[in-house]
Symmetry: C2
């Protein structure tokens, strides 16, 4: 089968590799109908993380079940399925508490690789969600977004306790930040303030439900958020970048007693205890338990209530994966979809 | 009136000062019937914080209202009252959300001083809770504990979401940690694991509801907690020390998706973002909104359900305040009550 393989920084190739196959009786193998490139794929691409030369890439996927292991009960061959970037058992106490991304038996899909014609899905019963019907092109795009960025932005908004009557601030206008805006809107937030300097992203933020767009960053952003909230600060803030500056901006933008949800993979973030003590906020985040939200997200997509796939502004065939990485790296695209 | 005044490191004296008096129409003046020395009073005492020479000390108090300002409506002269270490308006959005310690108009009682015969209580209506009846000696001790240590430990347990079916770990066996044990028990926790190496504190921890006492610290403590919880870690952990070691111990002891409540005033605590991201816990803490819990705590005390005043292992008259500080400093006492 063909699969995207990294050979070194900026050396992304579509190689012929051995077909994905069942290993454990709890595995499924799917035909990948759509995958995509994630912001986190850019860390090794840019040489900012160690490159595991020869490793397959990708952790987002929508597909059709091709084969199932002997112990798989919940999905069957021919089903259209989506799963999150973490395969999870669904049985352990952490899964049962809704933290599938922290599953005791978890497998990060990035270690398997889904930018390929076929992909092995470990723990298929706990991981995969069956779609109500074969998706049309639009639904395919939207469901693919749910596999990671939407689910991650959604978790950010839930972790920040976005809800009716709340003012939600979102730090970051990437695919995850924009998804957090959509989530906050769906969760009933009254005001949604986004930090963005890019016209096209501002436009999508407004479409997803943003009420205020601020070009300020850092302290200046926090001051503006306070001015918009009677001096208090946001009830809920989503940090969707992962930098130290973004985390500090999020903490400062939030009122005492408020909630900060952080979903940007932390790079160089350090939080002083005494500042967090004084801020008196709730802080919660990490790898999003997307699996918890997938059934609801699929329903919202199939009912037409949300269009999260709007974050994809470029679609390329799997064969053009090198170009997809380049477009993301050069910020020509917010998010690229790869089709089979 | 007589009041405890700090003149320099280890220079605590009981001085004759001007009587506390009304300043704002929202003030009350109370006769302080009981006050106490707090662990946080030891920071300036030990010269580890700048000493404001000539400043009055103390922020915990139970008393009888002696005088009220023109705008005070909720308390009247002669009422027995208790309040928290933060005076709060009760009206702003932060107070209304139950975060009175973050009140927009807050006054830290430490800046006023309650180790004295009289004390001015700012924002009396928002701050003071009237007791159902004049307390007997036991009730006085218990209600005094509610003014800070019990309320703070309670907040730690609430922030950690201690509750039925949960395993709660408590890092710290001081008055606040012990109060967190009592709170976790009241909140219905199933298992309560405490980190303690002191026989007398272990005994009180057991009396308050601890099911397991561990002498281990740091990683070793966390490993033991995991071994006691099927490998998962505690659902809820209360950090009641404020040191970096204690915070790391708390984070490591908690399962993914779990909750850490931190109420130790942070000294030198630094949290790496990527570790917090990986831990996938909820982290919440700061100066406890004790006022939120006071009515319920007073009810529990008057009904005889809890005996938080057991943390006081030494009682001295106000005149012996220098001895009280010394006993706390030398760890001869967990917590000293000062009587009028």
């Amino acid at each position: 089968m063909r699969a995207v393989v990294i050979h070194g920084p900026r050396e992304i190739r579509v190689d012929e590799v051995a077909d994905a196959a069942l290993i454990e009786p709890t595995d499924a193998v799917i035909e990948v109908k759509a995958a995509c490139v994630c912001g986190s794929d850019l860390w090794p691409y840019r040489g900012l993380e160690d490159v595991n030369a020869g490793a397959q890439m990708g952790h987002e996927y929508v597909g059709v079940v091709k084969e199932i292991g002997d112990d798989v009960r919940q999905v069957k061959v021919g089903d259209w399925v989506v799963g999150s970037f973490v395969a999870s058992c669904g049985q352990c106490e952490v899964c049962q508490a809704g933290y599938e991304s922290g599953c005791t038996n978890r497998v990060f899909m990035g270690s398997v690789g889904t930018q390929a014609e076929l992909a092995r899905i470990p723990l298929a019963d706990g991981t995969l969600v069956t779609l109500p019907a074969a998706p049309n092109d639009d639904q395919l795009r939207h469901v693919l977004a749910a596999s990671d960025v939407l689910g991650t932005g959604w978790f950010g908004a839930v972790a920040a306790e976005a809800g009716p009557g709340k003012t939600v601030a979102v730090v970051g206008d990437g695919a995850v930040g924009l998804s957090a805006v959509l989530a906050a809107k769906q969760l009933g937030a009254e005001h949604i303030i986004v930090s963005s300097r890019h016209a096209s992203r501002q436009e999508l933020a407004r479409k997803f439900g943003a009420t205020d767009i601020l070009e300020e960053r850092g302290e200046a952003f926090a001051e503006k958020v306070k001015a918009l909230t009677g001096g208090y600060g946001a009830h809920s803030t989503v940090e969707a970048v992962g930098s130290d500056e973004a985390m500090q901006q999020a903490l400062k933008s939030t009122r005492r007693g408020g909630h900060v949800g952080f979903v940007g993979v932390s790079h160089g973030v350090s939080i002083e205890g005494i500042k967090l003590f004084g801020a008196l906020v709730h802080l919660h985040g990490g790898p999003a338990p997307v699996r918890r939200f997938l059934p609801e997200l699929v329903d919202l997509i199939y009912s037409g209530a949300i269009t999260p796939g709007d974050v994809f502004d470029l679609t390329l065939p799997l064969a053009d994966a090198p170009r997809a990485y380049e477009a993301m790296d050069q910020r020509e695209a917010v998010k690229v979809m790869l089709t089979s």
